[in-house]
């Protein structure tokens, strides 16, 4: 499959990943994350943007990066059959690039997870992030807290 379109690339852990630009709503400078008690793994809290709240998905568990975020990538994903908006903190520069999809999931290296394809841009190959898979994998409710106990 050869498809040329625009992508947003950003660092996650030691690797750069790409998302189709149509999936990315905006890039936000670091802003306050409001946290409150909940039971979802990997959800740090919420950002407030123009009167709406956007959940922040912390991907450190999956990608291992821990530096303070330089940007939040606000992107759409499908989660449990619904389209949701999520903020992904990334540490480093984000780029809008033009590229060509040169492979699908089966062509991706086996040790790279959450990759739906490979993008060729500017003489390098960047894995295309499967955000739906990442979010589905990372964001899970912890059942232990869901059980209520009367004191």
């Amino acid at each position: 499959m050869n498809d040329t379109t625009r992508f947003v690339t950003f660092p996650l852990g030691d690797e750069r990943y790409a998302l189709d630009s149509s999936q990315v709503k905006e890039l936000l400078m670091p802003s306050r994350v409001y946290s409150f008690p909940h039971t979802m793994h990997s959800l740090e809290g919420v950002l407030v943007r123009r009167g709406t709240v956007i959940p922040v998905c912390d991907l450190r568990g999956a990608f291992g990066h821990s530096a303070a975020p330089s940007f939040y990538v606000i992107a759409r994903c499908n989660y449990a059959g619904r389209s949701e908006t999520v903020a992904i903190p990334v540490s480093g520069d984000c780029e809008l690039v033009q590229g060509e999809l040169v492979g699908e999931q089966s062509d991706a290296p086996q040790d790279i997870t959450f990759v739906s394809g490979l993008l060729r841009t500017g003489g390098r190959t960047v894995p295309l992030l499967d955000l739906d898979q990442v979010v589905s994998h990372c964001i899970q409710p912890t059942v232990t807290l869901a059980t209520e106990a009367k004191r």
């Binding site: 409001y34 946290s35 409150f36 008690p37 909940h38 039971t39 979802m40 959800l43 809290g45 919420v46 407030v48 123009r50 009167g51 709406t52 709240v53 956007i54 959940p55 998905c57 989660y79 449990a80 619904r82 949701e84 908006t85 999520v86 979010v135 964001i139 409710p141 912890t142 059942v143 807290l145 869901a146 209520e148 106990a149 009367k150 004191r151």
Partner: protein
């Protein structure tokens, strides 16, 4: 036959469509702290607020059930200095402090990625000038505090 002139006079020049609001407003809410975090409950759901000493004597009389709110939402055992008594007065939320009331705050639904017990705990999120505060779902906490009463009423 209908008069065409009169008919056109009745036609509105502009059709205004209601736009779905991003945030609605809630009624007055009571802000409280538990486990070091802020929460809110609708004032219309609250019977009264008691302090620890009041409650000790009242509980002996009425057998009121209470829950440690901080503990229930995973913040660990809280300091229970105040008790937010939910209507009709059979149960209360043990909290650290009651801050103030806020009127007509904006409330937004919990984002869909939150799919765990928090959907039962909270009705939504309040957007206040200095933060985002979960609005607790009084009916859920009433049931959590009074399972025995629920069983009795369901029987």
């Amino acid at each position: 036959m209908a008069d065409p002139v009169r008919k056109s006079e009745r036609r509105p020049l502009f059709i205004s469509r209601s736009v779905k609001p991003v945030a609605a407003t809630a009624g007055p809410v009571i802000l409280f702290t538990a486990g070091g975090m802020r929460f809110a409950v609708e004032a219309s759901e609250v019977e009264e607020i008691q302090d620890r000493d009041d409650r000790t004597s009242i509980r002996k009389l009425k057998g009121m059930e209470s829950i440690d709110f901080a503990l229930q939402v995973g913040l660990g055992a809280g300091i229970l200095d105040r008790f937010v008594v939910l209507k009709p007065g059979e149960c209360s939320l043990g909290v650290t402090d009651v801050e103030r009331m806020a009127s007509l705050p904006k409330v937004v639904p919990l984002p869909g990625l939150f799919r765990g017990a928090e959907r039962q705990w909270y009705r939504g999120l309040l957007l206040l000038e200095n933060g985002v505060v979960p609005l607790v779902r009084a009916d859920y906490w009433r049931k959590a505090a009074l399972p025995a009463a629920e069983t009795r009423s369901g029987a």
